[in-house]
């Protein structure tokens, strides 16, 4: 039994990414995005209904697969801008998804707590969510920094630029989600 590459990347991102960037091309570069979709399916089924039934897991995984799809799009955009001559897109996607462990563990923990929380205390769940979300966010930003430095081979300035570019895509996607789902438009545009 050994730790996964995701654990190596999360605990020692600089050395892990340096080593992993030298390894052969991954055979199944969509394995980790698909695992992320399955994780979202299970997490939402458990948090919402308290049971990971096939119906709920499949439904939630399909519904929320736009999240890993957007992640792939964001990697593709940064790869095009910064690293298309250095490594393949398949490898960039695989190595980038290895850095998702902080978010994965956070959503698993949150789903476990949510499924054990009475609905009357849902406000406490939101407090917990907002109180802890900085941990996976900052941790994954640190991993992302090393991804851009070691995998894309960028200098400090380039890594700052790539990090900001990636962050803009992620935050833009979140903004886009709330625009598409109809509640942000009136706040931005409306007077009524």
């Amino acid at each position: 039994m050994g730790w996964s590459d995701a654990v190596r990347v999360s605990s020692h991102p600089a050395s892990a990414y340096t080593e992993l960037a030298r390894e052969p091309e991954p055979d199944r570069f969509l394995e980790l995005p698909l695992l992320a979709a399955l994780l979202l399916g299970i997490v939402f089924a458990v948090a919402d209904a308290g049971r990971p039934s096939l119906r709920l897991v499949a439904g939630c995984a399909v519904a929320w697969s736009f999240v890993p799809a957007l992640q792939i799009a964001s990697v593709a955009a940064s790869w095009l801008a910064f690293a298309r001559r250095r490594l393949s897109l398949r490898r960039a996607i695989h190595l980038h998804f290895l850095g998702h462990l902080p978010w994965s563990l956070w959503v698993i923990a949150l789903a476990a707590i949510a499924s054990a929380t009475a609905p009357q205390h849902e406000a406490d769940l939101w407090k917990l969510l907002f109180a802890t979300v900085a941990v996976p966010f900052l941790w994954s930003r640190a991993i992302g920094w090393h991804f851009f430095r070691r995998v894309y081979g960028l200098g400090q300035g380039g890594a700052v630029l790539a990090s900001l570019f990636h962050l803009a895509i992620v935050l833009g996607s979140i903004l886009g989600f709330f625009l598409v789902t109809g509640q942000l438009g009136p706040r931005i545009l409306g007077r009524q």
Binding site: M1, G2, W3, S4, D5, A6, V7, L35, L38, L39, I42, V43, F44, A45, V46, A47, D48, A49, G50, R51, P52, S53, L54, R55, L56, V57, G59, C60, A63, W64, L101, S104, L105, I108, A111, A112, A114, S115, T117, P119, Q120, H121, E122, A123, L125, F177, F178, T181, G182, Q183, G185, P186, R187, G190, R191, Q192
Partner: protein
């Protein structure tokens, strides 16, 4: 443990199998009181294709598990998911789905239930309510906390059909804001309906606040007619009933949501522990073949 990842994958499969075995719906039937069908309804629910996390048809099935006879899917400023849910839910054995919209404007949020197309948010509340009525629907003030009070003028309150007096917000803010608004609404519109809604997006609060609707028939039309006629009862967070006193008396002690049989509850618990532990294992451990 030679291959922790294989064990993790087996745990995920076992978890989903247990969760699927626990996925049985209770037999529910609307109450009957004084010649009315008393529909337990959650008239403010968000689904996927909006900012809710479950598909509309899954919500209709989950609603039945929570003892609800009807839900209104009310995504922000759109009714696509609601129409999809309304079409699919009866085919899958889910609760009655009423097409709705949360008309989301900067200064007021208005639930429109029983409408056939999207209603814009740019008009004031009185004009929006007029349009809801023209489309055959009922109009309900959504979570009218102090922030939203300035958006509601007396003319709007007079044409409004109902106001939320129970909402999950009140579990930590207290019921005062919604009670004050409801009193103001009732003084302008004495026949107005008391509404309890969960404003569900995520987690397990579907049906936490609900409305007992005294309808002549278990249909979208029957539900909308009852709300527009003010034939509802809702209990606020302190257990105080709101609505016509005769209907409160007719309802008697409100029925508790169905309790899951112990075997089913155990399977659900085992399922979520296995599935979450398995997913954590898949993230943390590598296959022994690769080490």
């Amino acid at each position: 443990m030679r291959n922790a990842r294989t064990i993790a994958a087996a745990l995920v499969i076992a978890g989903v199998a247990a969760g699927t075995a626990a996925d049985r719906l209770p037999e529910t039937r609307p109450l009957s009181r004084g010649g009315y069908l008393v529909l337990q309804a959650d008239l403010h629910v968000h689904s996927f294709l909006g900012d809710g996390t479950l598909w509309p048809w899954d919500l209709a099935l989950e609603a039945r598990r929570h003892g609800l006879d009807a839900i209104a899917i009310t995504n922000h400023n759109q009714i696509l998911a609601a129409r999809l849910g309304r079409w699919l839910a009866p085919r899958l054995g889910g609760a009655l789905v009423v097409a709705g919209e949360e008309i989301t404007a900067p200064r007021y949020h208005l639930i429109a239930v029983g409408i056939d197309r999207t209603i814009g948010w740019r008009e004031g509340p009185a004009r929006a309510i007029e349009e809801v009525h023209a489309r055959g629907g009922a109009a309900i003030a959504a979570h009218p906390t102090r922030f939203f009070w300035p958006g509601w003028d007396d003319a709007a309150l007079r044409s409004l059909d109902g106001a939320e007096v129970c909402h999950p917000l009140t579990y930590y803010q207290g019921p005062e804001h919604l009670r004050v608004f409801f009193s103001r609404f009732k003084s302008e519109n004495p026949g107005g309906a008391a509404i309890g809604s969960s404003d569900w997006h995520v987690f397990g609060s579907l049906g936490l606040c609900r409305t007992f609707v005294f309808a002549h028939e278990a249909s979208e039309r029957g539900l909308v007619e009852a709300v527009r006629s003010g034939r509802t009862v809702a209990y606020d967070v302190k257990g105080v009933p709101h609505g016509d006193a005769a209907l409160v008396a007719l309802l008697g002690t409100p029925p508790a949501p169905p309790i899951e049989p112990p075997a089913q509850a155990f399977l659900a618990l085992a399922g979520r522990i296995c599935a979450l532990a398995g997913m954590a294992g898949l993230c943390l451990f590598r296959s022994s073949r690769r080490s």
